[in-house]
């Protein structure tokens, strides 16, 4: 049994898994950065534009939020000529942008209207009010919600294995195929679960610390915005 466990935890296997972990971090990291930028644009459009662009943003958000991620991963992979590596970034970003847009929109909704009036009275243009007054406050208030979504994105990246992108889950399942004993399979599996757990638990501890810092505990609405 001990030899079985040790046969899983060889340097070679651990390095193999580490490659996958790097990919997971690459996918999660680039998705977070891209979807915060794009999500901000969509949230601003949906919140402040009543015309065509606002409606388009709302439509995009509703369509993406009400369909499963795996559908977009498969669709982008098999219906577009985007190469496999980037199709993962594109599909994750498309999907998470919609969710982050709603989180940002929630933050924008909490900014009192008086802030705009005050800004205008000081000679700020609409865009300047957004840039210097509204958006910075909004981001400060949604840090916990955004961090929660980072956890979801790390977890969501494991869906990429559905199109054979070898992130952490993928590498783990490839290794899994080489093992046959119960102890080996359980060891490898426990290792995979423990790695995800550690990353996400640290992130969720950060969420709690942030919430404590602002003195504002998560409300039911915050829980509503969090996707599983």
């Amino acid at each position: 049994m001990m030899t079985d466990i040790l046969s899983v935890l060889t340097a070679e296997n651990l390095l193999f898994l580490l490659d996958g972990l790097k990919m997971t971090i690459f996918y999660a990291g680039s998705t977070i950065l891209l979807s915060i930028c794009l999500g901000l644009i969509l949230a601003l459009l949906r919140s402040y534009s009543l015309g065509f662009w606002g409606k388009l943003a709302a439509m995009y958000i509703e369509v993406l939020r009400n369909t499963p991620l795996i559908l977009w991963i498969l669709g982008i992979r098999f219906l577009t000529p985007i190469p496999p590596l980037w199709s993962g970034v594109v599909s994750l970003t498309l999907f998470e942008t919609a969710i982050i847009a709603e989180i940002i929109r929630g933050g924008l909704g909490g900014i009192p209207k008086g802030q705009f009036e005050a800004g205008h009275s000081q000679g700020f243009t609409f865009l300047q009010v957004l840039r210097f007054i509204v958006v910075p406050q909004c981001f400060r208030s949604i840090v916990p919600a955004l961090l929660s979504q980072v956890i979801t994105i790390v977890k969501d990246s494991s869906f990429l294995w559905a199109v054979a992108i070898e992130e952490f889950t993928g590498k783990g399942m490839i290794l899994m195929g080489r093992f046959t004993s119960t102890a080996q399979v359980f060891t490898l599996f426990a290792l995979m679960a423990a790695v995800y757990f550690t990353i996400n638990f640290l992130l969720s501890a950060a969420v709690r610390r942030q919430s404590a810092k602002t003195g504002r505990k998560p409300t039911l609405e915050d829980l509503s915005a969090v996707t599983a």
Partner: protein, 249 residues
């Protein structure tokens, strides 16, 4: 010439296979309903336990929630499908779908229930006890009915997440809508129509629910914003108000 992924020919071939899609859709629906039932049961029980006074109980629930929320659903599903058989526990994909998605969503629902219970002023429990209610009676007759109204929007959103998450079964050949669409598309080469229709079907299931959740949330906001009038409805308005700064995680 390369044919479009959405050519008429592909649509026609796709529609001759509608029965397989209908089968997948029904299966997704049944799995979603059963796992939602399980998730609600797990969520309500754990939610109540985590707002109890017993520290050991609260800690045990905390472990469950952290464990299920911080490990990807894909990994949990693989655990049931790939690892448990090594320990002699073999389940078919249907059972894995109900159990896996149900236990996962249960962790999220328990957080919603806990936050809901904690948002009811503690005075209510004290008042009930002073009137001779036991803890269980007070919970069932006084706290939970009030909390339920508050948690309906996030609960509905969790139901939407649950429906979307049943698509994880596609990775273990679960026979659900996503799997049926994908395997059909791969074998008959009509990815375009299959994926578009699948998206539409999930949208039809999820959009009404998420719209309802938003409407309910907006109504609570309006109630919270309105001045509390002295009327028979006053308790409901007063309840909606503490939502902005209730206790939580």
């Amino acid at each position: 010439m390369k044919t479009s992924p959405f050519s008429l020919d592909k649509w026609l071939r796709f529609f001759t296979n509608w029965e397989a899609m209908a089968e997948g859709f029904t299966r997704t629906l049944v799995i979603a309903l059963l796992s939602l039932t399980l998730a609600l049961a797990v969520g309500v029980v754990l939610g109540i336990l985590s707002s109890s006074n017993n520290k050991a109980l609260r800690r045990a629930v905390r472990c469950y929630v952290e464990l299920f929320q911080n490990i990807p659903l894909v990994i949990q599903i693989y655990f049931f499908y790939y690892v448990l058989p090594y320990a002699g526990v073999v389940m078919d994909q249907f059972a894995i779908g109900v159990l896996g998605v149900g236990l996962y969503t249960g962790a999220y629902i328990s957080e919603v229930v806990r936050t809901g219970i904690q948002s009811i002023p503690t005075g209510q429990m004290e008042a009930a006890k002073s009137q001779g209610f036991t803890y269980v009676q007070a919970m069932r007759l006084i706290i939970l009915p009030q909390a339920f109204r508050l948690i309906l929007p996030p609960l509905t959103n969790q139901a939407v997440n649950l429906i979307k998450n049943t698509s994880v079964l596609a990775i273990i050949a679960g026979g659900d809508l996503m799997y049926q669409a994908d395997s059909l598309a791969a074998s008959k080469l009509f990815y375009g129509p299959a994926y578009v229709t699948t998206g539409l079907l999930y949208f039809i299931l999820c959009f009404p629910l998420s719209t309802m959740a938003r409407k309910l949330e907006q109504r609570m906001h309006r109630k919270a914003a309105a001045p509390v009038a002295v009327s028979k409805k006053a308790p409901a308005q007063a309840l909606a108000a503490p939502q902005t700064q209730m206790g939580g995680i």
